[in-house]
C-alpha cells in the first residue's frame, strides 16, 4: 500500500464540519430565542398596536408604558399595586432558602462522602429517592405537618419547605463533588487536631467555590421560578412574584392587557438572568483558580 492511500483526506474537511456546527448552533439559538423576542417586542407595544392583532410585527411606537404599569399599577386580584410587592417577597423567600439549602447540602454531602460504610450508601440511596418523588405527591403530607406545627402559610414555613425540598438535590451534587476530593486532606486535618466541622469550614468549603456557585445558581433559579410551593405555603402576605404574575395574567377584571402581562413576565425573569450573567464571570474565575490548584 502506498503512503498516499494511507493519508486519504477525510470525507468532510475540518472547515466544512465547523460551518455545519455553527449553522446548527445558530438555528438552535434562533429557535429558542424567537419566543423571547416576541415577548419583548410585544411588551414594548401600546395596546392599540396589540389590538391590530399582528403579534409578529415590530413595535411602531415602542415605549415602556406596559412595563411601568406591570411594575406598579397592574391588578393582582383586589389590589392594583403591580408586581412590585412580589419582588421583595421573592427575594426574602429565595435568599435564605438558597443559602441554607446550599450550605446544609454541602455539609450533608461532605459527611456522606467521608463516611464509608454500607449505611452511608443506604442513606444516599434514600436521599436520591427523595429526588424522584414528585412534589405533588408530597404536598398533602407537608401541608398536614406544617399546619400541625403552626407553620402553614407563614414566611418560616415557605423557607422551611424550600430548604427541605432542595436538600436531596444539593446533597447529591455536593456528595458527588466531595467524593473526588482526596481523603488524605481530611485525614491530614484530623492529624492536626481539626474537628469535623472545623475541617469542613476551614479546609473543605474554601476549595468548593465552583460547586457552591453551581449549586447556588441551580437552587436560585429553581426557588425563584417556583409557583406551586409559593402558592400553597407562603400565605397571602408573602406571595412570591410568580404567583402575583399569574394573578395579573389571569385577572378577570377589566380587559386583558397582553403587553402588561408580557412586561410582568419579563420583570419576573430578570433576577434569574442577572444571576446567570454575574455568575458567568464567577464560573470563569472558578475555572482559573482550579487550573493552579493542580
Amino acid at each position: 500500500m502506498t503512503s498516499a492511500a494511507i493519508r486519504r483526506e477525510p470525507a468532510f474537511g475540518p472547515r466544512t464540519a465547523r460551518v455545519g456546527l455553527y449553522a446548527f448552533l445558530v438555528v438552535s439559538a434562533v429557535f429558542f430565542l424567537l419566543p423571547l423576542l416576541l415577548v419583548i417586542m410585544n411588551s414594548l407595544k401600546p395596546m392599540e398596536e396589540i389590538r391590530q392583532g399582528n403579534l409578529l410585527a415590530l413595535p411602531i411606537n415602542p415605549n415602556f408604558d406596559a412595563w411601568v404599569s406591570a411594575w406598579q399599577s397592574a391588578c393582582t386580584g383586589l389590589e392594583c399595586a403591580g408586581i412590585r410587592p412580589g419582588l421583595w417577597n421573592s427575594i426574602k423567600i429565595t435568599v435564605p432558602s438558597v443559602v441554607i439549602s446550599t450550605l446544609a447540602g454541602a455539609l450533608n454531602g461532605y459527611a456522606l462522602a467521608q463516611w464509608k460504610s454500607r449505611h452511608a450508601n443506604m442513606i444516599m440511596l434514600l436521599v436520591t429517592v427523595g429526588l424522584f418523588v414528585p412534589y405533588q405527591a408530597m404536598l398533602y403530607p407537608t401541608v398536614k405537618i406544617l399546619s400541625n406545627v403552626g407553620l402553614f402559610r407563614t414566611y418560616l414555613g415557605i423557607v422551611f419547605v424550600h430548604v427541605i425540598y432542595g436538600l436531596p438535590y444539593t446533597t447529591l451534587l455536593f456528595r458527588n463533588f466531595y467524593v473526588g476530593v482526596p481523603d488524605e486532606i481530611s485525614r491530614a486535618a484530623r492529624m492536626e487536631g481539626a474537628s469535623f466541622l472545623r475541617t469542613f469550614w476551614s479546609i473543605i468549603l474554601p476549595i468548593s467555590t465552583n460547586i457552591l456557585v453551581v449549586v447556588a445558581i441551580l437552587q436560585f433559579t429553581g426557588i425563584w421560578n417556583d409557583y406551586l410551593l409559593g402558592l400553597i405555603f407562603a400565605g397571602n402576605d408573602n406571595l412570591p412574584m410568580t404567583v402575583q404574575l399569574t394573578n395579573i395574567v389571569s385577572n378577570a377584571r377589566g380587559a386583558a392587557n397582553p403587553n402588561v402581562n408580557m412586561a410582568a413576565a419579563l420583570i419576573t425573569a430578570i433576577p434569574t438572568l442577572v444571576v446567570y450573567f454575574l455568575s458567568g464571570r464567577y464560573f470563569v474565575r472558578g475555572i482559573a483558580a482550579g487550573a493552579v490548584k493542580g
Partner: protein
Amino acid sequence: MSSISVRRIKKSFAALTILHSVDMEIEKGEFVVILGPSGCGKSTLLNVIAGLEECDEGQIVIEGKDVSGLEPSERGLAMVFQSYALFPAMTVRRNLSFGMEIAGTPKATVAEKVAWVAKLLQIEALLDRKPGQLSGGQRQRVAIGRALVRSSSICLFDEPLSNLDAKLRAETRVELKQLHETLGSTMIYVTHDQIEAMTMADRVAVMHKGKVEQFAHPQSVYEKPASLFVAGFVGSPAMNFLEGNLDGLGRFVTGDVSIDTSAYAFEGPPLAREAVLGVRCENISIVERGTPQTIPAMLAFTELLGADALAWFDCLGKRFSVRLGVEAARSMRKEVGLRFDMAKASLFSVASERRL
C-alpha cells in the same frame, strides 16, 4: 523504653483480614521502614499507629502511654501523606500553622516554630504561596515541614516519595536521612521501594499478607532473609531458588546433584526435609561443566549493566541470574557449571517457608 510499641494489632475489613497480630518495638530515634508489596497491610498499620483507623484488637503504646483510644492529634505524632495532602486554599504559612492555631498556641510561638521549620527545610521563600503554585518537590518539603512543626519527636511517612520523579526522589531520600540524623526523631516510613528501605532504614520490617515476616537491619534482611517471601521480595534481580531435599547427612540434593551444606549456618538441627536453596546472583561462581558440587547450566543471554553484567542461565528447568564482570560476560561459554557459595546462601523449609 521503646518509643513506640505495637502490640498484637489485628485489623479486618468485613471478611478480609488486613493485619494478623502485628508486634513491633521501635526504639527512640530509630528510622524504621515498613516494606512490602501493595496490599500487604503496611499503610493500614501506619494508619492504626497514627490513630486514623481503629484496630480490632491490640494496643499502641507511645513513650510508655497507651494511646489506643486517643484521637490522632492527641498521640504526639505527625504524618506525611503520599499525596502530601496540603490544604489547597491556605498559604504555605497557614498550612504550617493550622494545627497550632487549633491547639491555641500563642502567636509568637507559632511564628517562631514556622520560621524554624522554614529555615530547616529551606522553604522560607515559599511561605506566602498556595500549594497549587508549588512544584512536587516543594510540596513535599511543605508536607514534611507541617509534620515537623507538629511533632519533631515522632514522624510517620506514608510512601512520601512515590509521587516524585526518580532524580528528586534520590535527592529527597538523602535529605530525609540527614534530617533524621539532625533531629534525632523516631521515624516510621512506609514504602514498597526496596532501595529506600535499604538506604534509609536502621531497621526494616518486611510485611506480607498482614504479618511482619522479618524485622531487622536492612543488610541482614538482604543477607539472611527470614522467609522465602523476604528472600524473593528483597533484592534485584530476585534471589535464585532451587527446590530439593536435605538428606539429614549434610547435603542438599536436587536431581542428580548433591551439594555439601557444611559451610551453611543452620539455625536449627539440619533434619532431613524438603527444602528450597536460595542464592543471590553475586554468590554464584562460574566453573567448568562437570566440576563436582556444581550445577550444569546453559547460558540464555547476558545483560551488560555498565559497571557489571548479569548472565542468565537455564538450569534444572529454572532461570538463574549470575552477576559477573563485563569482560567475563563477553567471553561467556554456552555450557558451564554453577558453584554456589553456601556460606552466603539461604535454605528454607518448604513446609513452613521459614529459614532453616
